[in-house]
Symmetry: C2
Subunit: 327 residues, 2 copies
């Protein structure tokens, strides 16, 4: 049994606690928050045994095997380094880290302490993602890909009121690309590998952070346009256009609700998802840990690195600067 301590009591941690309930071999046993009341409330709501106000205290506790870090983006690095140093298996929410320097440093600690680190990437393990993967051959060769991940941010009104919520902050490594675009980048890198060229054009705040943008990834013989927006919304759509046909998918944040294959006529090839998205990823993480599946683990780390490379190149292309880059 992998016993997990959750860091942070935000909405994402709630989703984690819910998602973990359906994962055999994993149990949420602890919650950490500097705010004791919040920790206790969370513990009560999700039937979690242990509460901590002190992160270091949780890391020292031998009853905990792993931590899940659902904190603002720029805090991922520090918290993950500490967890890995304490030999706790670490699950980091997406986006994994701010930049490649952080990744290199984190991987070094992970290798030294022989402790595994995972990304809570919800999109790659979804059954409907496998469906897309399995049907690419039917429409091959691919000639154009468009993805739109737009979600009107709950924090946008705060921004309009003159505040800078974490998700729009350079200090907290925010922005539309790392928050929403990351789903499309993960899919592209998983399905098609690394692009030849990366161009990101964005609507940017004075602090350089992107509130929306259009990321073009070019490959041999085709290109992809990944659009994301945090100040407007639409029925999100993935369209993979090939010479022989087209695949349409409807993603909502980290789910894929429908997959339609059109090779002359439209066919619904959706599979019904049994669980919420986090559950699929957690089941795979548990499998990799228990089976000591080094090959998959290495592949996942490579995917994480590739995605971060694309995100960093895209940010550079648009001139988006995180405070974390200057450290």
């Amino acid at each position: 049994m992998i016993k997990v301590g959750i860091v942070g009591t935000g909405m994402i941690s709630e989703l984690f606690a819910e998602g973990a309930k359906f994962v055999e071999g994993m149990e949420v046993v602890a919650i950490q928050s500097r705010d004791e009341m919040k920790a206790k409330e969370f513990a009560k709501k999700h039937k979690v045994e242990l509460t901590f106000t002190d992160y270091e205290g949780m890391l020292k506790d031998v009853r905990i095997d792993a931590v899940y870090i659902g904190l603002p983006n720029s805090l991922h690095f520090e918290y993950a380094c500490k967890a890995l140093s304490a030999k706790k298996i670490t699950i980091l929410e997406k986006p994994f880290l701010s930049n490649l320097k952080e990744l290199d440093a984190l991987i070094d600690i992970s290798e030294e302490t022989r402790t595994m680190v995972f990304e809570m990437n919800r999109v790659l393990c979804l059954p409907n993602t496998h469906v897309i993967r399995d049907h690419l051959e039917d429409i091959a060769p691919v000639r154009m890909i468009t993805m739109n991940f737009s979600q009107y941010s709950r924090k946008y009104n705060d921004l309009l009121a003159g505040k800078t919520p974490n998700v729009f902050s350079d200090e907290f490594s925010g922005g539309a690309l790392v928050d929403l675009g990351v789903y499309g980048v993960h899919l592209m890198v998983d399905l098609f590998g690394m692009p030849n060229n990366i161009t990101y054009i964005a609507s940017q705040l004075p602090n350089s952070i992107d509130i929306s943008g259009n990321l073009t990834l070019t490959y041999d013989g085709f290109l992809a346009s990944l659009v994301q927006s945090k100040n407007s919304r639409c029925d999100n759509r993935i369209t993979i256009q090939g010479e022989k046909g087209t695949i349409y998918a409807s993603p909502t944040a980290s789910r894929i609700d429908t997959v339609i294959l059109d090779v002359g006529e439209k066919k619904d090839i959706t599979v019904t998802h049994e669980y919420e998205s986090m559950t699929y990823t957690l089941k795979e993480i548990v499998r990799v840990i228990n089976e000591k599946d080094e090959e998959t683990y290495r592949k996942q780390l490579k995917q994480i690195r590739n995605v971060l490379e694309v995100l960093c190149a895209a940010r550079q292309s648009a001139g988006i600067k995180f405070t974390a880059d200057q450290k």
Copy 2:
């Protein structure tokens, strides 16, 4: 009655002849083709009185007031110059011309001979385009626009077989942007004016011509991604995302089949099109001519120039070179 001579017997000329049948005040009276058989067949099929094999012959004929030029793109300039010099009102198929040098020269002739020149731009006069225009306020401010105009070319197999059809030729000023992207550019310029920045990233043939691409137009506070592909297809879609809601439209080449307004819940605001797309544009052309509506005419010329400016800047951004640019 404006008596029109059609130049060229291709599919587009067939559409023109069909579309003109519903236009009061306009009549197709002549067809010109170097191939006499083709001219006669066309004349018989569409009940056209006069046939010409010689373009100059048709231009000299006093029974003809106007010409419609439905030839490969790079021939537009030469044929339109001759028509305007002969004081024939000229209707040019889209894309209007290859570049701004051609436009300046053509406008000079048009002013000298006091003869009007129009673009057969099918998208701007559509009733459903007016519907979109009228509902922008409901979703304002606009924050993200995506358009996808993809159409698998009937000539793509020729290209794969090693030939270079006109539509993929630098000599004939071809490519996905000027052929399909032009619809989206016309809409953007009409609805939002000139963009601040223009970036085109394309999949290009060895002759530099784009077979597909992603055009990003940036405006104050939002941007637009215009995707076009001639070697794949999809359900074409226009999405205009605002802070207060979203407008979806389904265009097929030069029609707009549905318009959906979503400001909390989805509402179908489509109007049924009574005619095919060319008819609407021709009715407006006849109105402008008959009412001597100089203001609308000047506005149209400005729109044509702006669109051509965007197309040329986009081509320059991607390195797409037409033979016509070197003249």
